[in-house]
Amino acid sequence: MDLNFISFIVMGIAASILSGVMVTRRWPVSAAMVLIAIMMLLAGMFGLLEAHFAAAAQIIVYAGAIMVVFVFVMMLLNLPPEELRYGGITWGEMLLIGLGVAVAIVLGTQVGQGLLTRGFESLGFIPGQAPPGARPLYFPPSENVKNLAAAMFVDYLWAFELTSFLIMAAVVGSIVIAKKRSAENANAA
């Protein structure tokens, strides 16, 4: 059991606990900050699995850009803490909690046992090696950024470009919707 694996497990447990902390925060800004901490832990886990690009992208894109905008809006609107609303647990909520616990137990016993006995190997990850059954690599596994680029721009070029086209369409669509509303407001005023 090496140090990397122990840090991986510790980060995973911390991220799970922090997700619970996040949904119980009353201040929206506090919840956002806890979410950023979770994202950093996830980035650390990616890093330990030698997916350095995914780790860096996780922090730059999610924690460094998207969450900055979220926090910006929360601060701009100066959101007050959420009112605590407690009317007892309904049967539906009880059912959902039960389901969640059942899934956690099944996953914990299935994955957890392998993790504890065989470490990273049970995840199909051996440091410095390609996972079994992976597509043939263009570059040695240590050059994982180049391999990512090869997958994105050679193997899955069409899927990648179509996705970016879809996102572009969504951006244009959101602008159209926003424009329409402001025009209506202008007419009303």
Binding site: W27, V29, S30, M33, I36, M40, A43, G47, E50, H52, F53, A55, A56, A57, I59, I60, A63, G64, A65, V68, V69, V71, F72, M75, L76, N78, S142, E143, N144, V145
Partner: protein, 379 residues
Amino acid sequence: MEGSVGVVAQFLESNIGVVAAIGKIALALAIALQVAPIMVWVERRQAAFIQRRIGPNRVGIFGFRVFGLGQPLADTIKLLFKEDFVPKQANKFFYILAPIITAVMGLLAIQGIPLGKEIIVAGHTINMQPVSLNAGFLYLFAMSALGVYGVALAGWASNNKYALLGGLRASAQMISYEIAMGLALLPMVFIYGSLDLQAMIAAQSDTLLFGFLPNWGIFLSPVSFVIFVITMFAETNRLPFDLAEGEAELVAGFLVEYGSMRWSLFFLGEYAMMFTLSALTACVFLGGYEIPWLPHAELVSLLVPTFGAEPATWVAALIGLGVLITKVAIFMFLFVQARFTLPRFRYDQLMRVGWVYMLPVALVNLVILALIVGILRLA
């Protein structure tokens, strides 16, 4: 006694990876922590010369004055003994956390800078980059992106209108300029064909134009260099981009409720980030730790006859560190010079410069260089 020395030596030998990592991190931390006090003194002296004053030149230790270099020490002692207060209306947890985030991100970011090529100790080759990841300088970018939370949270947690406005300005500015910054660096990635700073520096050791110029990034893509330096000012919240502080309209912005060591932690983080981004510029555009026209391997082979095989790499690493710090010092000088020369932007001007000028110029530069590099690769 000799036995215990042998045990220690054996322990160090068997754990060379861990020992080397700790050593490198400690070296980078030592540099980062020295930057703030020295820069405070440089900033005050340079400001004084620009404004035809003398500046701090009195403080000495045991009668040694050395141009007042004892001033930062006196300042630190003063700050440590000041009252450590938390305003009543503040959100205490985040008020305390905010300066820590800024300082920690500054100290973490500097770990991604290659301080030298490599040294050989007892037959082990040690890469002198504390954090050497496959994603290279993206790590630096990530840490620099997280630095904004310190400023934004300080503004929010102080629960003060001026501070909140400062925090809002900082986060909007950071996002606007980060994009241009990334786009300015992208051409360098495909020119050098790597994200790794060590590989980028190695690629710059050749010469251009029949040995007339070193093969530096600044000559390969001057537009990228200019955009990167300008966005660097914006990312570190320095004048003319220090709208988050703006003492004329916001008193001191996000800093308004801070005092004593908490206040100086912001400065520690800011100076560490200035050093890191200057060093990143030096590595990507100015050949990093390499002496112009003298690749690292040649430097080592020049030193081998005098010092022997292994110590030669140590001396070369020291020289490299000196060269890197000299290049960084040029940018630090530029930071201070700009601060006392240029007036502050208006906020709408700041946003216009970022989105209307920097971003399109960076994009056009990217497309043109991509075409040139693509055609050269095909040929």
